[in-house]
């Protein structure tokens, strides 16, 4: 059996020559960074490729690195059940442009996970069928997992019932 890691990286390099940024392996976990414009087509390709068949999106989450450029990352964890192989894809998102293409049309399970990422980080998923907050009340105005959000919250931002 050919090495799946080389196969995955090679296929992605060939197919997405302009959008492929880097790949690295740490403790047996393969991570690929692509440009955010390509995320939906990368997911589509990985899902539909007859050899790879990444048929399961296990998680979508965000990261706030709190740095001047490319402040946020969105992380997609894919799993190929036929190949028993995991792949992590990351896209970088700058604070000036918080839009990322939704992968919900490719993996319907991304629906709530993208809503969570929107709720916590304010990243907007274009093409999502119903991008609302999922944990916080709908009239909440902040994004609590951002590094500049205080741990105990902003006083008055969440209402309590009258006593």
């Amino acid at each position: 059996m050919p090495d799946l890691k080389e196969l995955v990286v090679g296929k992605l390099r060939d197919r997405f020559a302009d959008e492929f940024e880097s790949s690295n392996e740490y403790r047996g976990e393969l991570t690929v960074i692509v440009k955010k414009s390509a995320i939906r087509s990368v997911c589509q390709f990985l899902r539909d490729d007859a050899e790879l068949r990444f048929d399961s999106l296990r998680d979508v989450c965000g990261v706030d690195y709190y740095r001047p450029e490319d402040r946020f990352e969105v992380v997609y964890n894919l799993y190929s059940i036929p190949q028993n192989f995991r792949l992590r894809i990351k896209v970088r998102v700058d604070e000036s442009d918080l839009h990322v293409d939704s992968v919900t049309p490719v993996f319907s399970t991304a629906d709530w996970e993208e809503r969570e990422t929107y709720d916590m980080y304010g990243i907007i998923f274009d093409g999502h069928p119903d991008l609302r907050r999922i944990y916080m009340p709908e009239d909440f105005e902040h994004f609590p997992l951002r590094k500049d959000f205080p741990l105990m919250g902003i006083p008055g931002s969440l209402a309590l019932p009258r006593k």
Partner: protein, 165 residues
């Protein structure tokens, strides 16, 4: 002696009503996280709350007069808890069960209410994470004692049940 011969005894109406109330407290199980498991054990055969007349857990607030808030209350959930409390008929009592409910517990966080007494009148606080069922039983007995003393709900001094050593 007089009781045996005359077949009656005299008391105050408030006392007899209080006696009936304290021995038939029907809990509203507001089980919103892990404390609810211990609350179930509290109703189960080992602790057996039916000895105290509180085995009838009512899932309708209209039929309950004791709310046991068992679990972490988030700001989003606090409106639901308050609404259910408001739907319970008077007189009604509240037990804050466990660390999260009483003070936010380990959740020093933007999303968790730092103690339900910020929006509810609490009668008894039960310590523990979660409290043992027998400790919750002690909390219930304290509520009963309050009723027997003729106290109004949500008033007088609060009662704090310590954890067992």
């Amino acid at each position: 002696m007089g009781l045996e011969q005359e077949s009656f005894f005299t008391t105050k109406l408030d006392d007899i009503i209080g006696w009936a109330r304290k021995n038939s407290l029907w809990p509203m199980p507001m089980g919103i996280s892990c404390c609810a498991i211990e609350m179930m054990a509290f109703a189960g055969p080992r602790t057996d709350v039916s000895r105290f007349g509180s085995e009838a857990f009512r899932f309708s607030p209209r039929q309950s007069d004791l709310m046991i808030v068992a679990g972490t209350v988030t700001y989003k959930m606090s409106h639901v808890v308050r609404k259910i409390y408001d739907q319970m008929p008077d007189p009604k009592w509240v037990i804050a069960m466990g660390a999260c409910t009483s003070s936010g517990g380990m959740y020093r966080s933007y999303s968790v209410v730092q103690g339900i007494d910020l929006f509810l009148p609490v009668d008894v606080y039960v310590a523990g994470c979660p409290p043992r069922p027998d400790n919750l039983l002690r909390g219930l007995m304290e509520v009963q004692a309050k009723i027997a003393r003729g106290e109004k709900p949500g008033q007088k001094e609060k009662i704090y049940i310590q954890e067992h050593a």
